[in-house]
Subunit: 331 residues, 2 copies
């Protein structure tokens, strides 16, 4: 097994004044329609946890089973989301749970303050604590519950041996093209299956190559990829990298971040998938690198504000003075 730091290369510099202050290393792969790596930086064999970047994979059994046939585009986007906890997100998940005759109490994701500063301030002003709906993963969990109900399975759907997670693991191993040697427990308590970076890239390549009418798997992949692009607000929220990147690409590309410096992209028009991991887990570097790779593939305009912001900055301080910038060093 290749440890995550083996063979990593410098990907992003953080510059202050005219000096490099910090450097992020990592690995990145671009995969073709068969899931094969066609371009790589660092070590494609690095073993990683995809974290939230693989939510579209975790949603495959929901659709392939038929349990999610009735779901709206926004609900499918929420399945793949790490949302901001804005009212639009929480009320959509709440309504979905009521549709399946369930509630916040059936969720097993736990609660945390919403990522959205506005939503957080609203809760504070109302003297309320966050509920599980505010958890950035609540949409994924609503999907798990929908599948669990369809399967007639028990309430502890985040247990690794629960039918929902067994189905997720099977789909995960099929699309990554390799057995997962282990899992970790994610922030939302669901198992997160480990794979090599090129396994995650393989999955993204297959998602990109999926076409309708080629069976349940490809139908599911197409629906999820489209839903992410079309309802990108529900995948993250206002001002977040995922939403802004998808908006800048007209919804034609699906991108998804994961904790600890993971990022993926699905580019159906180009038949390409991207997966990357920053070794130190740095989000700013994962965002800079995915934006640079999207520009590299011609999918994102280098002059788009979000491309500029993520790959360069500038970085400014409390008095709005520019203090530095990023430099992506993909060679």
């Amino acid at each position: 097994m290749t440890q995550v730091n083996e063979g990593a290369v410098d990907l992003v510099q953080v510059i202050r004044g005219d000096m490099v202050e910090s450097v992020h290393r990592g690995h990145a792969v671009i995969c073709d329609e068969s899931g094969e790596v066609i371009e790589a930086w660092g070590n494609p064999s690095a073993m990683i946890y995809p974290r939230s970047s693989c939510k579209m994979v975790q949603a495959l059994p929901l659709l392939e089973s038929g349990a999610g046939a009735h779901l709206t585009t926004a609900q499918l986007a929420l399945c793949c989301a790490s949302h901001e906890g804005q009212t639009e997100h929480t009320s959509a998940v709440d309504a979905w749970l009521r549709d399946i005759e369930m509630s916040d109490a059936d969720l097993r994701c736990g609660s945390h303050m919403p990522y959205s500063e506005d939503a957080k301030a609203d809760l504070i002003r109302a003297g309320k604590k966050p509920c599980q709906l505010h958890n950035n993963c609540s949409g994924k969990h609503a999907g798990f519950l929908t599948l669990s109900k369809h399967l007639g399975a028990g309430p502890e759907y985040v247990e690794p041996d629960h039918p929902v997670q067994l189905a997720v693991r099977r789909a995960f191993e099929e699309v990554t093209g390799m057995e997962s040697p282990r899992y970790g427990i994610d922030g939302c308590s669901a198992p997160n299956f480990a794979t090599r970076l090129d396994g995650l890239g393989h999955a993204m390549g297959l998602f990109a190559a999926a076409r309708e009418g080629q069976g349940a798997r490809q139908d599911a992949m197409v629906k999820l990829t489209r839903a992410m692009g079309e309802e990108s607000f529900f995948v993250a929220g206002d001002g977040r990298a995922c939403t802004d990147l998808m908006r800048a690409m007209g919804g034609k590309v699906a991108v998804k971040t994961g904790a600890e410096g993971v990022f993926v992209a699905i580019l159906p028009e180009l038949n390409r998938g991207i997966a990357l991991k920053i070794v130190d887990g740095g989000t700013r570097a994962a965002e800079a690198t995915i934006a640079a790779l999207l520009v590299h593939l011609g999918a994102l305009d280098a002059a788009a504000p979000v491309a500029q912001r993520l790959t360069y900055g500038p970085i400014s301080n409390c008095r709005k003075k520019v203090t530095g910038h990023y430099r992506v060093t993909l060679a």
Copy 2:
């Protein structure tokens, strides 16, 4: 000039389940009473910005000039602080500014939401915006203003050619033992002078070796180091690594964090100084490494809760399930 990532070594692993998920590299030095490196990890020549870790150096001219002769221990601690913006911090800086017939309007640090979640919630509930007093650097700036007034200098005390910053630069170069090749603008708009990691370690060694009655510089060093240890709440705040570490060591050691993964320690009883930089800027790794080095030197009990928390964790999720832990890999 040695770029920050040259010769860095692995310092901290982040483990999820039984697999290394992320790794932080960096450099660390332990210096003796003459400022010489006696133990090192990575590359002592790495060029860094000390950021807020050098606030005790930036405060030297305030004391050496006599301008700060009347300051209380808490005020001296605030000079060296990156405080939480709790009411105790902001009201102490406010009172200090009134003492010198100045106000928030004279500060040039800019404002940001207080780091303290409680203080932030208080502001939100009151419908107020943060002022410059809430800036984590407001104590350092009160010190700058006190010196500026003493010197009869102009109001723009963060300009690099202002008498205050010229004095800071002189002191900085003297205690680091080397010329600073450049500066960057810090988050609080003050210039932050670059040095090699062993330069920062050199300064910490001299602070540790300083004794009273050996001239203005050593007197200033002793007062600042003692103030940090004795009034550690004012250096950071409840629950923060700096405050908790100093409390756990009975105030006998001064420690200070800096943005982008810098941490220093001054150990007068052992005549040792520590400086470290995490290449990717990761705070969690800087905290884990400083705690491990303090344990290594016998200054911090490995069983102390703060030592356990910073060097191991455990890391838990929204449902308080343990998902992983840290592992400091100092070899």
